[in-house]
Symmetry: C2
Subunit: 332 residues, 2 copies
DNA sequence: TTCAATCGTGAAAACGTTTTCTTAAGCTCC
DNA sequence: GGAGCTTAAGAAAACGTTTTCACGATTGAA
């Protein structure tokens, strides 16, 4: 049925070894190489990657395990990882964990069975903690989320600094009563919360924080509750794109205005943030840079497995828009 | 180095065949099965999927080839496909073509080399046309885009009907001078344009259409040009989420209002459309249903390869929001 | 001219499974 | 109690490659 390298060899009048060498750029005379190419064309031969991987013991494949493929942050990172992997001659297997530790375990194991050469992984907090104990037979580079203790290569945002930027910006615009809404599944929520709290205290302000599930609905419900009970702050900081969307939806649903009734700032410069309300002030993450860097860290780790662990911390950029407009003209 | 089924067999004091049978649920005495399970645990054995696939000649894998993984429409479909594939015990390889025919060819070939059992594919117009000639050794189910002539299973939106709904809605709201903006890379653009034009003519209106590249920037530039030259229509219909975003960005940049200066309607009920301006009137596609149906068509095709080609056409839903508010109170 | 080194090629082994074939042991049934 | 079945287990073949090994021919140096 399916045509194998032996069929090609027969058609070309050479041995299978010669076909293999001709196709992989080995030493073959020009004459035989031409015969082989012709035979490949005539037979419609397609190499069997499973056989190739089995024999050569290298999969030329990496795994990319993210929490949510519908989240623009991860798709943007995935694009960058894929482009970079392609340049290095590697395939990418993309996996979706839904922030579910069981799925994470399942995929980490699957990656072993696929014999991937390495994995780029955005773990939940639960998994990040026990990653060191897992003894997987491939190197891992963490992205976006990294436990401080985990002895893994990682590339992350300077979350504390970014949260500080937002707080200081809001403070500069005249806001004093500022609340923070953080995701409870990842370490980024923790770190951004820490930066937020520290910055508030440094400014002599009373920090107020809530942790919720990383979903639009959870954020929406939380804000709706604030607004309906009438004890809403002057401004709110949302620790990722999902929560930010929930915040804006709740404010619209309540018929309130941004920033007059509630100022808004958040993380992730997704394209819709420019269009929502008066435009949303956000921290822009260097998504492409994160993907590229992760891939490079992985390649270097593969090259020198013994090298010391490296953690790359990238800075965010504060994009100021109307959602944090000064509450009243500032005094000079 | 890596532990194989032979090592497990040795550790359990049985033959490799027995290990294989024990792990795949074959007939093995309870006693030996326990020994095997213990040995697997002790040795940390992980089956090698390449070897398994090579020997059993089935990959248990399907390919999902989409145009743009950053487009929420495709990520939503991908999610549904993955969930359904998982239920059927299949893995999914996700590929990104960037609407680039060369990448499409590359991935179609790669899927052959991976020996996938089938492929779900959203092709560009260029590739949709020559798909029949390609003689690939796996069945294909097309999604979102399908050439009329292509003898392939497919699941698509009723594009003409959806475009008609938008036109009739705008007409009902009092708009007369309506322009359409369509993507030039896919068959959906063609079909939506056809529906748009037919509906306009049926209503005795003069249709005006533009085809642009499927990107935010292209749409933005086109609308910006309309607005700056002062010959903008009363309303514009955008044929997908990307173009819709470009339209809104251009209107905001020009300092115009929706719908007073320009009413807007489009395709794809992405979550941001609720938040942009006064909310955008859109056609909601049954994304999950599309993914599920595609997977089912593929499974049925695998079961009965000879069955006649099926094309499933799903209806869209018109979600009315502020961007198409009546231009002036309608007369009773 | 001869010996060693290099080169292109084919034969055969190897990769880690699953599956077919064989075999030995335990049954059932007259 | 032996002929015929069923059953569980092992031996060995097979999947489609790549790679090692062996071999003869060509080349280069002495």
């Amino acid at each position: 049925m399916t045509v194998s390298i032996k069929d090609v060899a027969r058609a070309a009048g050479v041995s299978p070894a010669t076909v293999s060498r001709a196709l992989s750029g080995g030493k073959v005379s020009a004459e035989l190489r031409a015969q082989v190419e012709d035979a490949v064309h005539r037979t419609g031969y397609r190499p069997n990657l499973s056989a190739r991987r089995l024999r050569s013991q290298e999969s030329q494949t990496i795994g990319l395990i993210v929490a949510d493929i519908c989240n623009p942050f991860f798709t943007a990172v995935a694009r960058a990882v894929e482009d970079e992997a392609y340049k290095a001659g590697l395939r990418v297997i993309l996996c979706n964990t839904d922030e579910n530790p069981e799925k994470e375990s399942m995929y980490l194991q699957l990656m072993e069975e696929e014999r991937v050469t390495g994995v780029i992984f955005a773990p939940t907090r639960a998994t990040a903690g026990r990653l060191g104990k897992l003894r997987l037979n491939y190197p891992i580079v963490l992205i976006d989320r990294a436990d401080i203790a985990s002895g893994q290569d990682a590339v992350v945002l300077d979350n504390a600094a970014a949260a500080t930027m937002l707080v200081e910006h809001l403070h500069g615009q005249g806001y004093r009563h500022i609340a923070g809404l953080f995701g409870n599944a990842s370490t980024t929520g923790i770190e951004r919360h820490a930066g937020f709290t520290a910055a508030m205290q440094r400014l002599g302000l009373q920090p107020e924080s809530r942790f919720v599930a990383p979903s639009i609905e959870a954020a929406e419900a939380e804000i709706a509750s604030w607004l309906s009970h009438g004890h809403a702050p002057e401004a709110v900081v949302a620790s990722n794109g999902l929560l930010l969307m929930g915040v804006v939806k709740a404010i619209r649903a309540a018929g309130k205005r941004i920033p007059e009734d509630l100022a808004v700032a958040g993380f992730d410069n997704e394209s819709w943030t420019e269009l929502a309300g008066p435009g949303l002030t956000v921290i822009e993450q260097p998504v492409a840079e994160i993907g590229r860097t992760a891939m490079h860290l992985l390649l270097e780790r593969l090259e020198t497995p013994g090298a010391p662990v490296r953690k790359v911390v990238l800075g965010g950029r504060c994009v100021v828009r109307g959602s944090t407009k000064a509450v009243q003209p500032l005094l000079a």
